[in-house]
Symmetry: C2
Subunit: 338 residues, 2 copies
Amino acid sequence: MKKGQVTIRDIALKLKISISTVSRALRDSPEIKLETRKKVLAMAEKLNYTPNVVAQSLRVNKTKTLGIVVPQLASHFFASNISGIQDTAYSRGYNVMICQSNESFDQEKSDIRTLISSRVDGLLISLSRETSSYEHLDNLIEREIPFVLFDRIHEGLPVSTVTVDDSLGAYKVTKHLIGQGCRRIAFMSGPEEMYISKKRMAGYEKALDEYGMKVQNDLVKHSDLTENCTQILTQELLDLEEMPDAIFAINDPVAIDVMKFLKSRGLKIPADVALVGFTNMPISDALEPSLTTVDQPAYEMGKLAANNLLDQLMNPEDFEPQAIVLDTELIVRKSSQK
Amino acid sequence: MKKGQVTIRDIALKLKISISTVSRALRDSPEIKLETRKKVLAMAEKLNYTPNVVAQSLRVNKTKTLGIVVPQLASHFFASNISGIQDTAYSRGYNVMICQSNESFDQEKSDIRTLISSRVDGLLISLSRETSSYEHLDNLIEREIPFVLFDRIHEGLPVSTVTVDDSLGAYKVTKHLIGQGCRRIAFMSGPEEMYISKKRMAGYEKALDEYGMKVQNDLVKHSDLTENCTQILTQELLDLEEMPDAIFAINDPVAIDVMKFLKSRGLKIPADVALVGFTNMPISDALEPSLTTVDQPAYEMGKLAANNLLDQLMNPEDFEPQAIVLDTELIVRKSSQK
């Protein structure tokens, strides 16, 4: 981007609105009020703003490399996302470089900077559990660096997103547990602000609602996703005056930590406490008891995210952000069958 | 490296010997015959060769980024290596970028090229299961790009390596199984040419030898490390006239595939067949039966590899390649106790 050129940041500053609002207004997004759109267009004209897409499509020195940022690599789910991205990228002549944020917001920002310095052509990002402000993403939009968010996303940005229907998946789990006769279903969730925590909570709540049950605050726990924290919170559930008869864990790694802890306390799964995860790690059917879980098409998510980003790189002019939502499947195994 | 400058490749070409021999001869390595060392030094003088270390240490445009190449990311072992590397790198002011070769030799070469184009300051590499020629590594040595090999290494290059004592680990496993009364101990190995296959085979053989037992070829299988291949080979073991009474799997992921398969055939572990892995994945004690395995200090390996590489970057003049070998610990659990 040439110095002195007017950018969407300039328009945003003048109007005291966010960069993403300006970006969406310039795309005529119906999510932005007509009045705002008019203001943005007027300011764009006044400042003589010209969109940078042509410059971008003509940009030389393409590296044919995509950058990936994931919260963690020691996760079958993210490793499968990456394989889907990588296979797709290779088949279209691109390499990939990967950074992990280790669930740290600062590291996530640093990873993005590192990949940008390596002149990747675009980014695929899944946000850390700590990320709750989004200036670093606004900055990418402002610099017109194409990126796609997947799994741990932030809604409301003018970029493509790829997720599973987290809410529906959690709804299916909760309904299944109710069908097994469970009446005190605990939800071992992740950090409250995390996208998947919010969505899966919504599905859990919806199913309880349908059966005339209310969310009980003492049955909802927010683990930071470490084994230690999950163990402490599981103990809290066991210490309740009336113990839960089922635990729905936000993902399979957390479910495995809960399973180990329940076993160490001599509790029988599912007889004493039913247990359900979310991910369908390959290991989940080798556990004793085999783990009921929700199958997430992680590889497919990676493929779709990569294809979306590459389409955007090929045809920046025609690109419209998409919110791609994939379906999930409940896999009933022994851990939840009372 | 300036064009026209004499490199170790020129010396190697003139003498018709390998680049790594030249490199080691120039370092006065005792592994190289005195005669060869003299020849190399004479040719270096004749061609007016000057080592590039000063240029390298003064090289501007350092990116403060390390590149990592691992065979696969969906592996707790490599993910832990990476965490060790990353934590060490960050604490010393470096970022890391990661590529996976997907166990493909071609992809490994392409990954290295991608990272070099991104101008990483150095590389940490664990070789793919397919890699059995090493020109791409010679090429790095020739270009004086510092790198360290870890876990899946190739011996005989003038670079640092970090491994565990694979042979001793496998020896401990085999001796333990013999102590449990097992007399037909199968070894479900990896590809024959892979470093860890060879080393772990040597330890298996040594223990059998000590007890006056011979390696029986029909009890040694070479899986390509996929679940499908491991299942087929396990079936072959079960189809033998006399079934094995124990299976030692090259790593925990392979052991888990064997475990699933034995269970699916209605066999009891350890009563019918004892089972041991190698890695100590966190999941291995949540399995039924819990898995006897060898604990590899993966995180520590990553730390040592990163520190070695960073020391080399800080002080290229004083650097001498090291072969760092870490000890392992046999963790006896239920899967092997007859």
